[in-house]
Amino acid sequence: MLFNLEISTYLDALWETAYMTIASTLFVFAIGLGLGSLLYATDKDGLWENKTLYKILSTVTSALRSIPFLILIVLLIPFTRILIGTILGPTAALPALIIGASPFYARIVEIALHETGSDLKETGLSFGATKLQVLFRILIPESLPALVRGITVTAIAITGYTSIAGAIGAGGLGNLAYLYGYARNRILITIAATVMIAILILLIQVVGDLFVKKLSKKY
């Protein structure tokens, strides 16, 4: 028992938050990488420069990013119900988390690919690489440290989103802090939940840094 609540309640909440964060981060990584690559590729100096397509993609990305997360969850309720079968529980939070965070990561990917630069694109093409080869064999591998740093930041942002989702029925530490802590006026539980979220975020940062270090350490 901690502050009059079963330890297992805390652990369940922690697990739910971790699950939401990890599962959505995996999806966000894949979707953001795809969307970010497309943004880079269709932009000026990209591999498949296409003004119209870039405009469309860019507008959609920005629009999605501008929707407050709470509103996004509400907007997605019908979609979530069809896809997951329920709107409660951690899994039901995934669509909103993924759609909310993917545009954010996509922008990070776009910037990283631009930074890696036109020089290497030219180099690849000048040796007869196809555009796909330039993207997958040169630009993405060269940007890897930046991409990992970006997904770390994104995962941390997602952890924040999970607590918002938690407060309206997704479970997890956010739910614990809100339902047991705030609603029943037990501030210590709120603090305990907050500390656990902070530890989780710290852990994500440490793991992310470790990956980056591993990727950058070459000799």
Binding site: G128, A129, Q133, R137, E142
Partner: protein, 327 residues
């Protein structure tokens, strides 16, 4: 042989500015060709047309067996590019690959890398003087060493043409000399033609056989090194030549051109004392008004001989000196 006929190129978005304006040129095989011009003259644009990193609007380019570069399909463009190695101003190496993997990269775009490829890459590394460095990463190398890796990488697909866009502009004078000599030596070993872009006349004098001078999107002079060095006509060319202390025109102006002879010596006869021998044998008077007998490839001298100029000419020619009028 590469020929360009009336090539015109304007970048999309640039209003009146024409990057290349009616450019025609010929680059013969077996030689090192230099393209010189000030910033914005169109040098990079010109060589980037050859491997179709840029397309052109009008005209025609012939290179290898390709006659109409503009209408090549994707696959042919890739094959064309495979036959053309490219070296850039900065190394453009992949920071997360080793030196050896960087060199092998161009092969990997076309097929699987074999153990022979690896051996060839290792040989190339040796050739550029970096055999010990195969497992290092680019950031562990100096600028000059990275440029050497770039040269090895450009040769890995066994190209027939090497395009170098200001390969030494980021290097110090001594390293520049070494890299230029390396380009020259490897080009010869691998029978590769070279086109080298620069804004530095020193680079041209050091290794080029022919020179193309560009200004504002046009070719203003195009010829053999000697002619450009000593008989430059265009003010832009004269300015470049002056930079390396070979400004003949100001000397020549002080004399009657009919009394002047331009002598060219190659390395084999530079040491002989031909002029004093001539003065003794023919008992003529001749004064040296200009001499530059220590440059890298050829020595030249201008003599002023008010009398018996034809006899002098004959004598010198018999002694393997190339004699020309000063124009």
């Amino acid at each position: 042989m590469i020929t360009l006929e009336n090539i015109t190129k304007q970048y999309i978005g640039s209003k009146d500015e024409i990057a290349l304006n009616q450019v025609s040129a010929r680059f013969d095989s077996g030689l090192i060709h230099g393209i010189i011009g000030i910033s914005g003259a169109g040098k990079s644009t010109l060589i980037r047309l050859l491997n179709q990193l840029e397309s052109y609007d009008k005209g025609n380019i012939q290179i290898f067996d390709y006659t109409d570069l503009r209408h090549l399909n994707k696959e042919s463009t890739r094959m064309l590019r495979k036959q053309i190695g490219m070296i850039f101003q900065t190394d453009h190496l992949l920071s997360r690959k080793t030196v050896l993997d960087n060199i092998l990269l161009p092969i990997s775009f076309h097929r699987k890398i074999t153990s022979e490829d690896k051996k060839f890459a290792q040989d190339l590394l040796q050739e550029v003087g970096l055999s010990e460095y195969s497992t290092r990463y680019p950031e562990q190398l100096s600028g000059g060493q990275r440029q050497r890796v770039g040269i090895a990488r450009a040769l890995i697909n066994k190209p027939s043409l090497l395009l170098c866009d200001e390969p030494t502009s980021a290097l110090d004078v001594i390293t520049t000399g070494q890299i230029l000599q390396l380009i020259k030596a490897t080009a010869k070993n691998h029978s590769v033609d070279v086109i080298i872009v620069t804004h530095d006349m020193y680079v041209i004098r050091e290794i080029c056989d022919t020179v193309t001078v560009m200004d504002k999107g046009r070719i203003v002079e195009h010829g053999d090194l000697d002619d450009i060095l000593f008989k430059a006509k265009h003010p832009q060319t004269q300015a470049f030549v002056k930079e390396i202390g070979l400004d003949l025109s100001s000397v020549v102006q002080q004399f009657d051109p009919k009394e002047l002879l331009l002598l060219k010596f190659d390395e084999s006869i530079v040491k002989d004392s031909i002029i004093s021998e001539m003065i003794q044998t023919l008992s003529v008077t001749a004064s040296i008004v200009y001499a530059n007998v220590t440059p890298h490839r050829i020595g030249i001298m201008v003599i002023h001989a008010p009398k018996r100029i034809d006899e002098i000419k004959l004598f010198l020619e018999k002694h393997k000196v190339v004699v020309e009028d000063v124009i």
